[in-house]
Amino acid sequence: MAIVDLTSVPAEEPFRDESVWSRLRYYAASHPLGVVGALIMLVFVTVAVFADFLTVYDPTATNSAIALAPPGAAHWLGADYMGRDIYSRIVYGARISLAVGLGSTALGCVLGVVLGLASGYLGGWVDLVVQRVVDVLQAIPLLVLALVMAASLGPALGNTVVAIALPLVPYAARVIRSNTLALREQPFVEAARATGMSEFRIAVRHVLPNTLAPLIVIATAQLGAAILTEASLSFLGLGVPEPHPSWGRMLSESVAEYVRVAPWLVVFPGLAISLAVFGTNLFGDALRDILDPRLRN
């Protein structure tokens, strides 16, 4: 009757008792691409953390003698127009780009989830107020909003994270709200209510887990956008202040002038961004499948 062969289930298998490691191994085996994504992310995080040990050159030191030097033995990935070592700048840039990318995506999603869940689940005037605020936020283009935020808060890493996170809030809030509205009417939510479960617990235990799939999709898609938004902000002097390197700024400050004469100035930071986004996308896809019992087999 059941879709799976139930006789293959061990007779005494308890619910929720498997060890974390055996589950992890099982998920890794069933999602090889997710493992690739996780490894890519792990490499970037390691690079960011141990940047001091992985480089010989100061990423901010300029040297006019080697300006626009092509990739070679001394400078693996070449040097930029001010004679700064690109490899060192990418390694140190991982700190800022990952902090901004992951930080703002996480912050934006958390705020969006809280607002969306409250708005969709509570309804009434909460919904009305939250949705009008979201409307206003969404009416302003992402970059403009981030610009206003960054300009009013001043250039600093923390402020950049907040400035980029804020425009993400309405997107996450909208998706979570619409999902919540549909889930709220589901009989399994009514059943939970009939057992006397508190509304807050129902929202967290039953509604939230069922909105995870679209949230992960949004989050992984936004990560790349966040890194690039930081680049735009930096280019306009409102991101993480000079001379700290970030991938986005390395890309934006050299793309117009040097892409023909010294393409390595553009290619390597671009590759770093693409790879980071690619890694999180692979990982996010696998995570979405693993968290959904229907896709787990």
Partner: protein
């Protein structure tokens, strides 16, 4: 409205008593959400259910029978009337007070697919009510979930499985196990077998009857299927447009119905015998809108026997014969 409500013929302890229950939904329109009208979903319904008894509630779709079930559990707040569970009026209890009484009444839903959280294992779904009420903890929870699985005819090994790995009938068994977890006195079945295959329907109905015999449960069994209701119920209440038109024991209802609407419903049940000659009477017209129910007796617009009085005066539910309650001026 009523001094006495249609109660069980045999003297039993009353588990649920519903008096003049009303649920009116406001219909809002336009930008300002002005009240444009009211849907009289449930309009003065009274009945009671004894211990170990099944009351079948039948009617066409949209007659308010599901609203009755949900209002009794206070999943929908009633507009008027009172709901009394084991002698305690729960109509106006606040959420905290209501929690304790939730243990006494549970619900089984129609759709076995959307009534179970797809992200929780079957064992967790059944364990959750116990955790909410702190009835058990740790290994004790697991033991009791295993007992419940056994009770509803599922295997212990299936506790770790997720809802999508079960068939419709098995899912409905999980739903029943969840309802039983709190050891309720009353279970409201909101069309619990309507979404199942006919062969599985019988299995689930028999399980419910076995549980009733063993645990002394009372059921409010909501259905549009007369055959199913006949199988499981002791008494049957027939609803039309938010009101009960007839309420009596099963046998009387099927052999000597008194209300014209009950009569027409019974005539619409197909008989699996081509030689049986049947009276050709098909109910005329559509069910009127519950937003504008007809004056007087709600059924007068389609009733073949309607007289002038029916258009003006709403008939009260009266005991026309011992144990047979009918809301009709002509009986």
């Amino acid at each position: 409205m009523l001094e006495k409500s249609p109660a069980s013929v045999a003297a039993r302890t009353t588990v649920l008593e519903v008096r003049d229950l009303k649920k009116h939904f406001p219909v809002r329109k336009g930008l300002l959400q002005r009240e444009a009208g009211t849907v009289y979903a449930v309009d003065g319904v009274s009945f009671s259910i004894g211990e170990g008894e099944t009351l079948g509630l039948v009617g066409e779709s949209g007659c308010g029978k599901s609203t009755v079930g949900r209002t009794i559990l206070r999943l929908i707040e009633p507009t008027g009337g009172s709901i009394i569970i084991s002698g305690k009026d729960i109509t106006h209890l606040d959420k905290a007070e209501l929690r304790t009484y939730r243990r006494q009444m549970q619900i089984i839903f129609q759709d076995p697919f959307s009534s179970l959280d797809p992200r929780m294992s079957a064992g967790d779904i059944v364990a959750e009510p116990m955790r909410v009420h702190r009835l058990a903890r740790g290994a004790e929870v697991k033991k009791r979930v295993a007992e419940l699985f056994d009770r509803v005819g599922l295997r212990k090994a299936q506790m770790a499985n997720y809802p999508h790995q079960f068939s419709g009938g098995q899912r409905q068994r999980i739903g029943i196990a969840r309802a039983l977890a709190l050891e309720p006195k009353l279970i409201v079945g909101d069309e619990p077998v309507s979404a199942l295959d006919v062969s599985i329907q019988a299995q689930v109905l028999n399980l419910m009857m076995d549980l009733q015999r063993d645990l002394g449960l009372s059921y409010l069994f909501i259905s549009h299927n007369l055959a199913v209701v006949e199988h499981i119920s002791h008494r049957i209440a027939v609803m039309y447009l938010g009101r009960i038109v007839e309420c009596t024991d099963k046998r009387t209802l099927f052999t000597r119905p008194q209300h014209p609407y009950t009569e027409s419903l019974l005539l619409a049940v197909p008989v699996p015998d081509p030689r049986v000659k049947r009276r050709k009477y098909v109910l005329q017209g559509e069910v009127p809108s519950p937003m504008k129910p007809p004056s007087g007796c709600h059924f007068h617009t389609r009733c073949p026997y309607a007289v002038d009085r029916c258009k003006i005066e709403s008939p009260a539910l009266r005991e026309v014969k011992p144990g047979q309650w009918v809301a009709c001026h002509l009986r």
